[in-house]
Amino acid sequence: MLELIVFSLLNGLVYGLLLFMLSSGLTLIFSMMGVLNFAHASLYMLGAYLAYTISLKIGFWPGLIIAPLLVGVVGALIERYGLRNVHRYGHVAELIFTFGVAFLIEESVQLVWGRQNVDYREPEILSFPLFTLWGTDFPAYKAFMLAISVAIFIALLLVLTRSRVGLIIQAAITHPNQVAMLGHNVPLVFTGVFGVGSALAGLAGVIAGPALGTFPGMAAVLGSIVFVVIVVGGLGSLAGAFVASLLIGMLQTFAVAVDYSLEDLFAAVGITTSKTSALIDLYTVTVAQIGPILPYLLLVLILIFRPTGLLGKREV
């Protein structure tokens, strides 16, 4: 039992911090421009695929730098030449536009790299078990993922709170017109934030690719979860995104480990269920099986009962 808790905690932490790397960019973009970027998870996938190709040509480490930069450029281009033109049609049009871009990126990844999984692996130097507890290995690569995520989190925090650029960004979130009056180029700030957010998504893809697999469906797996994270945390709240990322990460990893169903619960309190009932699925399905639904259930509940999210100030 202790083994299960320790490993679920560690895996939840790794997964949660990965989610934060994605959701931090998304929530920043949302708070500045009011756009929920549907293509965010597609950029994550693009990062993984680009890093795969680079790792074949020159190795894993250059890919760790180059791939996120390329994704950042792609993101900035999307903002500059796409989103900015669509902006005048309103937020719904922007949402539809990013949906279309997500569709295009996913299709073009399949067009270039095919529909099969690609064999993107961690570097040799990191493929060893870091430590072994109760006979279960904890891979060094996961610790590496953890380190990168924590480093990014700290860097983001420092840039946003301690640097001049961070001040301008924070001001542009709440008072874009005022910032423009003071002579700052707000559209450029928007493009920059979109680019950096995309680069972060790309970086998440680069480090997640070897651990979670690099395949055409990888954007769909995480795409909606990231939305859940930023809505649950409170739209526009970086701290909220952090809490929600860890919460969802833990929720999903712990759910996988719990193998109980309603039937077991009923049996424990002395109620027997009929095997022929039409609701038999409802009784026998285990927590592990409904794991994938839990985040969405949380999303719907949050939106009904606390539309501002956990730490958000404004309603979605």
């Binding site: 719904v92 067009l111 769909a220 639904i293 539309p307």
Partner: protein, 428 residues
């Protein structure tokens, strides 16, 4: 008042005359199988009609109610599941003629619309979109878990010929099913059109445009949205029911997010601002899907390109483009546009050919067998290892785009001049 509506064509005229266009539509769809006789074209027509109902129901949300949904397939899929279960139960059992079973899907869509709409229609915009996405993901994931109801990945199957026959029709052939689907399509489209003309439908427009003012007039924006939402759920359920009748199988694919995305795509390409938009969109999308996929594996990419281009350059969709030219046509000025359109059409065509060529070559590189270096494209045999083909297509794509962008302002000016003339002519 009279200045705004000088003549009222709706008063007077019989029921038959007022709905003339609907009778023509009914006649047209009923005669269509006489022209398109082959099995494949009937299959395409069936799919098209189902998609028309589905898209029209989607537009009750997006176009008429201002609600962007990413999970509309929930009602389509659940309608399909309930219908197929009814078909299974009714086979050999109680009296249940096949033409009526899609109603079960519709009722399921209506009830789930009431259930999910009761908490998701408080506001439109981003909140609504997010909740619809959450519900969509939830139902799609559940359909793989609750196997007894959904059949898991294999889905649920039934046999439509087992049901009670009505007037001796057993719906063995696809043509029989076509008539059933087409009749439901015309009926549903007519009902949805009538709905958009009722006070509730008009209020849905008002709530879409300005919810605050609608509240001041005395309408609850939530209730107005909920009514539209339930209506949309009902007709999506009907479409799902017809899907079950036609294919005799319902799988997880009908409820998942891909299906929800498809309906958004086709409605938007058709144009969400017009009642006929989703119809055009569903027809075009189904044709693209069935015809294009014969020629290229990356047809979905092209559809995506068309979609993004629509969002960026023609947010009113295909129907919007047609509608832009209607007054010009009426004024007889369409001819004045021929030359400007030719001037932009040629470079645009070059650009399109270039882009298609590059994409096809790129795709060929990733899927080709070892040692294979030539690809047949545009009735030519191209060698992908030589730079020749790549350069030609790149020049076509970039050059075409640049020239098109250069002449675009003059074409726009020509259109404005023509339409100014058209409106000026009418005022006189």
């Amino acid at each position: 008042m009279s200045a705004i509506a000088p003549t009222s064509p709706r008063t007077g005229g019989t029921f038959l005359r007022r709905n003339a266009i609907w009778w023509v539509a009914l006649l047209f769809v009923l005669l269509l199988p006489q022209v398109a006789r082959s099995g494949t074209s009937i299959a395409v027509l069936n799919q098209m009609c189902i998609m028309v109902i589905f898209s029209l129901s989607y537009n009750m949300l997006l176009g008429q109610g201002g609600m962007l949904s990413f999970g509309h397939a929930v009602y389509f899929g659940l309608g399909g599941y309930f219908t197929i279960h009814l078909m299974k139960m009714a086979s050999g059992g109680f009296f249940m003629p096949l033409p009526l079973v899609p109603l079960a899907g519709g009722l399921a869509g209506l009830l789930f619309g009431l259930l999910f709409g009761s908490f998701s229609t408080n506001r439109a915009g981003t909140v609504f979109a997010m909740i619809s996405l959450g519900i969509g993901e939830m139902i799609a994931a559940s359909s793989l878990i609750f196997v007894k109801f959904s059949g898991g990945e294999e889905g649920i199957t039934a046999d439509r010929t087992d049901l009670t026959s009505l007037f001796g029709i057993r719906f063995r052939s696809e043509v029989d099913v076509y008539y059933l689907i087409a009749a439901w399509m015309v009926l549903s489209a007519w009902l949805m059109y009538r709905f958009s003309r009722t006070p509730v439908g008009r209020m849905a427009n008002a709530v879409r445009d300005n919810p605050e003012r609608a509240e001041f007039v005395g309408y609850s924006q939530k209730h107005v949205r909920l009514l539209s939402f339930m209506g949309a759920g009902f007709f999506a359920g009907i479409a799902g029911g017809l899907f079950a009748v036609n294919y005799e199988i319902v799988t997880e694919e009908t409820v998942n997010l891909v299906s929800s995305g498809t309906v958004l795509l086709q409605s938007y390409i058709g144009g969400v601002g017009f009642f006929a938009g989703p119809i055009v969109g569903a027809i075009v999308y189904t044709l693209l899907q069935t015809l294009l996929s014969n020629y290229t594996e990356i047809w979905a990419f092209y559809v995506g390109l068309i979609f993004v281009a629509t969002v960026m350059y023609a947010p009113t969709g295909l129907t919007g483009i047609i509608m832009m030219h209607l007054p010009i046509y009426r004024a007889g000025k369409l001819r004045s546009l021929a030359l400007p359109y030719l001037r932009i059409g040629v470079p645009a065509l070059c650009c399109t050919i270039g882009v298609i060529g590059l994409l096809e070559l790129l795709h060929f590189l990733s899927v080709r067998a070892v040692g294979q270096s030539t690809k047949r494209l545009f009735w030519l045999t191209l060698n992908v290892e030589q730079p020749f083909a790549w350069i030609i297509f790149s020049v076509l794509a970039v050059g075409g785009f640049l020239v098109a962008r250069r002449v675009a302002p003059s074409v726009l000016a020509a259109w404005e001049a023509a339409s100014l003339h058209a409106f000026g002519g009418r005022a006189r």
